[in-house]
């Protein structure tokens, strides 16, 4: 009980502390792959600190919703990231929401983000919100189908149970490969990464997420940037915990075990960040109306994975 509670709080602190570093690391690696030097890995922390100290400049006509949204978005994303097993399963509150509920929690954060983007009544907020909603309307069902596939293999939608099952008895399965592929596409879309969106551009023809947060400044912007980093870490943690649960502590363990588990988690995050940077360097961004095709592939893969399992279960 006590150790589970301690692990829960350690996890909350861990994801919060680690998230900006992940963003910094990805940017650094991408820069190096493009033969640039790139900003230091700790640059996102510096950005956050600088933004925290700045005044908030609010548009004249913005409402209470615009001011409340950054904190709610941050809080929902943080809670979601804190419920994914990173170094051990059976966190104190992991049963508070299964994978469907956690995905829906991120959906609530996105809802608030889109609503806040419309609050000032600018054309850029509208363009970002409308495109984000189009992308989400395909990415969310694809994610649900991935959850279905994984849940049918592990017999549970609880992430802790899934991770423990995968660590013990998770073998190679065609359905799981399909689910992994679909989940990677969904993760790229949900995190506004290339090929769906470009996180480092402010051109109106490409931006989706950046257009939505255009009116934010100061500590509000810092909250949103932190939430964006947390969401990337969340998806990497989910992929790691379902498809690569090695080193995850599932029972009791000593200090050494925790050290190993933590090191394994950090290694997974670094590898994922490297893969993401490579992918973003290797491929180009898609036109906005090509994105539904990509997400349609993810949706179909998720459905096929589920169908395969539904069929094979009955035999």
């Amino acid at each position: 009980m006590m150790s589970a509670l301690a692990a829960q709080f350690a996890q909350m602190a861990l994801v919060l502390a680690l998230a900006p570093a992940l963003t910094g690391l990805t940017r650094k690696m991408k820069a190096r792959l493009q033969r640039r030097i790139g900003p230091p890995i700790i640059q996102p922390y510096r950005d956050l600190r600088r933004l925290f100290g700045k005044d908030v400049v609010l548009a004249d006509n913005s409402s209470w919703l615009f001011r409340a949204a950054p904190y709610l978005i941050f809080a929902a994303t943080w809670v979601a990231a804190a419920l994914v097993p990173t170094f051990r399963t059976g966190l104190q509150f992991s049963w508070a929401g299964d994978l469907i509920a956690i995905v829906a929690l991120l959906g609530a954060a996105r809802f608030l983000q889109a609503v806040a983007a419309l609050d000032t009544g600018t054309s850029f907020g509208g363009i970002g919100a409308s495109r984000e909603l189009m992308i989400a309307s395909l990415a969310e069902p694809a994610m649900i189908m991935v959850v279905f596939t994984v849940a049918l293999v592990a017999g549970s939608t609880q992430l802790s149970t899934i991770a423990a099952f995968m660590a013990d008895r998770g073998g190679l399965r065609v359905s799981l490969a399909m689910a992994l592929f679909a989940l990677v596409i969904v993760a790229l879309a949900e995190n506004s990464r290339i090929p769906v969106d470009n996180p480092s551009t402010h051109l109106e023809v490409t931006m989706v997420h950046e257009a939505m947060v255009l009116e934010y400044s100061g500590r509000h912007l810092a909250m949103i940037q932190l939430a964006t980093s947390l969401r990337l870490l969340f998806y990497i943690s989910v992929i790691a915990c379902i498809f690569c649960p090695f080193g995850l502590i599932t029972g009791a363990s000593g200090w050494l075990g925790y050290g190993v588990a933590l090191a394994a988690y950090l290694l997974k995050v670094i590898v994922a960040s490297l893969l993401l940077a490579t992918l973003e360097t290797a491929i180009a961004k898609m036109r906005v109306f090509r994105v539904p095709n990509l997400l349609g592939i993810a949706l179909m893969l998720g459905l096929l994975g589920t169908l395969l399992l539904f069929v094979s279960r009955g035999m």
Binding site: F52, D55, V56, V57, L58, D60, N61, S63, W64, L65, L72, F74, A75, V79, F93, W95, A96, G97, I100, A101, A104, L105, G107, A108, F111, A114, V115, L118, D119, T122, S123, G126, I127, A129, S130, L133, M134, A136, S137, L138, A139, P141, I144, M145, F148, A151, S156, T157, Q158, E204, L214, E215, G218, R219, M223, L299, L303, T306, F310, V311
Partner: protein, 665 residues
């Protein structure tokens, strides 16, 4: 039972009283206040009787050899709560809203009668009483739709509604005829005692789907709903959308689970297929629409689809002998019906306050209302999040239960269902995601941004009664989402009666989580998630304001450095839906845009035209109307025959009827 009958009699009495009183100014408050009191009482008594044994009563009304049978069992009690709570909140809202009614005499007499009719449908225990109350409900609601009869659109809406309602009643009439059999056992007890042969059961099921589905708004029988619901005054729209569709769902559950006996596995197919199609098409229709009340009406169609998916799953599980899973799906269906009543009422109340405040119900003429109407916009936002199935609100809790019951479906014995159910799961997830887009759009275009018309800029907050009704509904949306276990436990007599199974008791589970099957399988705790998010948000605010900056400066908006482009440059409801229209509606609605760009030097304005097709009208109803017209022209010849030929026609008809009777009996 006696309380319900007394309440119904009271409501009918109020109707008569309204005929006497309607010229007085105090008539509206007195009548709505009395409706509020009676409905609250009925709702409370139904909630208490849910866990009690079924009670029956026979009154010497209706057909002399049949009498009027009434029965109050768990299913009826659950739906009585939905009906009367919805009616109570609508009456509370109408205490304020009703003052803006131009012709109260066209609303006041029918309103209590409409509520009484819905109550009667649910407690009726014989086909005659059921169909009588059903038709009474249709006609009173038709009268309420026609309350603003001088608006041209209303006449069309009323006409289409009348045709579809009669058609639905006709289908139900035949369904009950089949269920009663040649003996004519029109009491429900007699129908339960005589299960049908598979062929007749299939026919009765199709008729029940058509009859109940046309009232509930199943695609493609939905065409009247987005016309009729918005045409009525807003508190009646809330009643029709939030409550009357539930009566139709009750009718389908009553016939398919109770009266028809043990289901075959294929009974689930129409509910699953039509439910899935209805859920997705309903919300797509909503995304194409710019009239706020019609958006809400289409969203009702979507939610009816979701409830039908859950009913279909329950039928499949019941046929497969999986009582626990069937109980889960039935609970999810009734829970979602309850939730939809709450959030759709709040949303229609919100739309009503917007119309009162601005006189505008097209979203393209609204905007910026959050600053003029802060309280009602907050309530609308909460209800919109509930309708988008987002935690911690109630809509998510019930949809989560439906997802959990889909995940049990690999254990079904039939291969066809195994393949179908995950595809339905995709449709459900798609509908949920599109609903979020739909409500971001509805809330954003109405309440956010800058006012698009002078009327919207001058809007004022609604009166206290309306606000109270909205706040109560929105708060209950949150509470039912935070404590779903309480509602689930309270609903368990329904699956126990219908599918002889129940979900695990939720009361004993630590921390008020809900566990649909077993703890290792899945659990959800809206209260804990909500408290965590609230605590984390408060922590972030406190830390930042204490240790970082707390300064706020006001300035004109930035918009990427563009100067003030004027109000019309902001995204409108139509443009917010453009990406989704392009992706999802190019085939279903044949959506396309045509740009007429003048040549350089030409000073006329560029024109962008948007084309949309309504497949239900274009492919089903217009051809049907044409065919009907052509047939009528052909049959016209019969009007000009000689008396000999008429006599021979009568003789042939008699012989045919006798032959049919001989073959059937």
């Amino acid at each position: 039972m006696q309380i319900v009958l007394a309440g119904v009699a009271g409501l009918l009495g109020l109707s008569v009283l309204a005929l006497v009183l309607f010229r007085r100014r105090a008539a509206a408050p007195i009548l709505y206040g009395a409706c509020l009191a009676i409905c609250l009482g009925l709702s409370a008594s139904a909630a208490l009787s849910l866990s009690q044994a079924a009670s029956e009563a026979v009154l010497p009304l209706g057909l002399p050899w049949l009498g009027a049978h009434f029965r109050l069992d768990a299913l009826a009690a659950a739906f009585l709560v939905i009906i009367n709570f919805g009616a109570a909140s609508a009456s509370l809202y109408a205490l304020g809203y009703g003052r803006h009614e131009a012709e109260p005499a066209r609303v006041l007499p029918f309103y209590p009668a409409f509520i009484a009719a819905m109550n009667l449908v649910v407690i009726a225990d014989d086909a005659y009483g059921f169909l009588f109350s059903w038709e009474f409900m249709s006609l009173t609601s038709w009268a309420l739709v026609m309350a603003r009869h001088r608006v041209a659109k209303t006449a069309v809406a009323g006409f289409v509604y009348l045709i579809m309602a009669s058609f639905g009643t006709l289908a139900l009439l035949f369904a009950f005829g089949l269920l009663a059999g040649p003996q004519g056992g029109y009491a429900f007890a007699a129908m339960r005692a005589h299960p049908l042969s598979p062929g007749l059961a299939g026919l009765a099921l199709v008729l029940a789907v058509v009859g109940a589905g046309s009232k509930a708004g199943l695609v493609p029988l939905h065409v009247w709903l987005p016309l009729a619901h918005p045409a009525a005054p807003s508190h009646v729209s809330a009643l029709m959308s939030g409550v009357m569709t539930k009566v139709a769902i009750y009718a389908f559950i009553r016939i398919s689970f109770d009266l028809m006996g043990d289901p075959g596995w294929w009974w689930s197919l129409p509910a699953l297929l039509l439910g899935g199609a209805t859920a997705v098409l309903g919300v797509l229709y909503a995304l194409m629409e710019t009239d706020l009340k019609r958006v809400l009406a289409y969203s009702t169609i979507e939610n009816v689809g979701i409830i039908f998916i859950a009913i279909g799953l329950a039928l499949a599980f019941k046929a497969g002998g999986m009582a626990g899973a069937a109980a889960l799906a039935v609970t999810a269906a009734v829970f979602h019906a309850f939730n939809h009543m709450l959030f759709k009422s709040a949303l229609f109340f919100g739309a009503g306050t917007v119309i009162v405040a601005t006189g505008e119900q097209d979203m393209e003429g609204l905007g910026g209302l959050i600053r003029r109407m802060p309280v009602s916009s907050a309530a609308f936002l909460a209800a919109a999040m509930a309708a988008s199935a987002l935690p911690p609100f109630n809509g998510f809790a019930s949809e989560w239960l439906i997802f959990q019951s889909i995940l049990v479906s690999p254990e079904l014995p039939q291969m066809g269902l195994k393949l179908l159910v995950p595809a339905i799961g995709v449709l459900l997830a798609l509908a949920a995601a599109l609903a979020a887009a739909c409500f971001v759009r509805a809330f954003g275009a109405t309440y956010l941004g800058r006012a698009r018309t002078a009327a919207a800029a001058q809007a004022h907050e609604a009166d206290r009664w309306s606000l109270a009704a909205m706040i109560i509904c929105a708060t209950l949306c949150l509470l039912a989402g935070l404590f779903p276990g309480v509602v689930i436990d309270w609903l368990q007599p329904v699956p126990t009666a219908l599918v002889a199974g129940h979900m695990p008791p939720q009361a004993g589970i630590p921390w008020l989580s809900i566990v649909p099957v077993s703890a290792s399988r899945s659990s959800y705790n809206g209260l804990l998630l909500f408290s965590f998010v609230a605590a984390a948000a408060c922590l972030a605010v406190a830390v930042l304001h204490r240790f970082a900056s707390r300064i706020v400066r006001r300035a004109p908006f930035w918009d990427c450095g563009y100067p003030n482009l004027g109000v019309l440059a902001q995204y409108s409801a139509t443009s917010l839906a453009q990406p989704i229209r392009r992706v999802f509606a190019d085939i279903t609605f044949a959506a396309h845009e045509q740009v007429d760009m003048p040549a350089p030097g030409d000073t006329r304005a560029a024109v962008l035209t948007r084309y949309l097709r309504d497949p239900a009208w274009d492919f089903i109803y217009r051809p049907l109307a044409r065919a009907l017209g052509a047939t009528a022209t052909l049959l016209n010849h019969i009007q000009f025959l000689t008396i000999r030929r008429y006599l021979s026609l009568v003789f042939i008809a008699l012989v045919v009827l006798l032959v049919v009777l001989a073959l059937w009996g």
